[in-house]
Symmetry: C2
Subunit: 364 residues, 2 copies
Amino acid sequence: MTASRPSSAPDATIATFAARLRNMQTDAAAERVTLAAVAEEAGVSLSTISKVLNGRADVAAATRTKVEALLAERGYVRRIGRAEAKADLIELVFHELDEIWSMELIEGVETVAKEHGLSVVLTVSGSRHAPDPDWIEGVMRRRPVGVVLVFSELAPEYRERLRSRAIPFVIVDPAGDPSPDVPSVGSANWSGGLAATRHLIELGHRRIAAITGPDDMMCSLARLDGFRSAMNSAGFPVDPAWIRFGDFHVDGGRDRARDILALENRPTAIFAGSDLQALGVLDAAREAGLRVPEDLSIVGYDDIPLARWVSPRLTTVHQPLRRMGEEAARLAIRLADEETTMTPRMDLATSLVVRDSTAPPPAV
Amino acid sequence: MTASRPSSAPDATIATFAARLRNMQTDAAAERVTLAAVAEEAGVSLSTISKVLNGRADVAAATRTKVEALLAERGYVRRIGRAEAKADLIELVFHELDEIWSMELIEGVETVAKEHGLSVVLTVSGSRHAPDPDWIEGVMRRRPVGVVLVFSELAPEYRERLRSRAIPFVIVDPAGDPSPDVPSVGSANWSGGLAATRHLIELGHRRIAAITGPDDMMCSLARLDGFRSAMNSAGFPVDPAWIRFGDFHVDGGRDRARDILALENRPTAIFAGSDLQALGVLDAAREAGLRVPEDLSIVGYDDIPLARWVSPRLTTVHQPLRRMGEEAARLAIRLADEETTMTPRMDLATSLVVRDSTAPPPAV
């Protein structure tokens, strides 16, 4: 065969393969050297090091801490594809389950796990900041393929322990703003606020109020900025009294809506920031003797099941929670298979669902 | 020391202990004999038998089936407390997650699992009848402490495989009627129907309608029977037109309530059978120009979060879902520790939660 172009591809492939093989051999040798050095420095046997790596319980806490610190110091990362394979598990951690849409996230992760022959270990951490120490020890023992954390931060020490075992993690956060140095899946809050407001503008509304969430949550600010941009683009003024920060719950929506509906220059529509707040706005409208949507249009946010059950059914912005769960699981599995230097971050699109709580404004 | 009474207790304890030890030794010997016989009959090695017992993948399907059948035939049960300990896992299986109260069951199981240092493996089976074959193979590999199934049946073949590995399972079924030969946790549906109806009677209602669930679900029938008993005890007649079977969803509640409210001899209160149906009844009342609770009282069932969010807030019967999850997990863990010949079955109490959708009937 002549050295023509077509044959260069296979040659390149073989060269790449050979290089990879060399790297793997070098990696394996380097790993043995690192572990031996750590054992010597910690004054323990290689078998103790192995116990620490495998999360075994029969190691003194002080020894474990010392070994972990030395491993971290040397930037040790366990090689993938060793004889001791990972378990067929993926870990899913919630800080709490009481948000009714946790279910969809769980279903998303479950679906992708099943596609990959993995089972889901579910942990409720009870704290927004980090799962507790029992959890990380359990993960070290279970050796899952990857970890998906919902609304949680992961302490740097835990990140390091996961990294050293080549267990990737992905943060799912539809509400906040995950730090840029961790792989994450979020949703497009700004676009959601924009779409909700544009819908009202297209129906003919000009006087539109917005109740968003707490002022220290990124998603609140993003949704509100989307609202402002839609109003500004349409050339409509925004009365500062029409903008309120709520709590994302029914009571917050009701209280803020009472204030707004008591204004002299009352708006004809309210973007309610969440479906629960929309429910509160619906209450306040009824109290004020206003019909929805004839006298007042309301747009929610989230598209929880409730939005289809209340009357009138809510026009709302759909959060792709199930897809977020799916993408997070897929990302964790992919990161377990591939080495990558970049930090993947993904914001999934939100979409407007038009139902019965919005209509053209009443004729003046 | 004289052989006086006080010392007889320790003697008895020692005798019991010695007897247990003998039993354990006998059991161990009997187990070895059983496994050797099965190996011979199946024409495989003891190591293959061990692979089957541990759910290892490197056994031909035909061999696995043959060995499993022989183990079942001989009533083999793996002894508890062997060197190869069970994993720190408990399995939780839902046939689907879209009921919004799955969350509370999960939380209940999670809480008890955590108390016992266990992690929860969550599986969504997608079928009411049984988890799929992958699931049972996974369980054999993972060797959890126990299994909690929600609304699911377990095929006899799977029951046998769990039994042979001494992995207990418990069925949680707040809606149906689990068969008497499996350990189960349910809730007191009849008492719930009774309590809801008594509350209306105590408020002064005499003309009370009931919308229950589908007529092929045991919980529908039990709730309705509770309603009838309360009415009969109070000596109030029940017009057959006041009793309807629904679908436990909003639409079913709305449709049945429309029919009931159109009756000439209209009731002053409706026991709605579920919170979602109560929501439909609320809609139908609004359509008919009736105020709730002034013109019509409504009692729901379930006490899902929604019941506190709608306006008026629903008077309803609380399902102890979180406690059902807790008790099921506790039962599974207890069955893993103790040998018992009886089949535990537990129905947890429901309780009435009085909120704003009920009031005395309008003065005629």
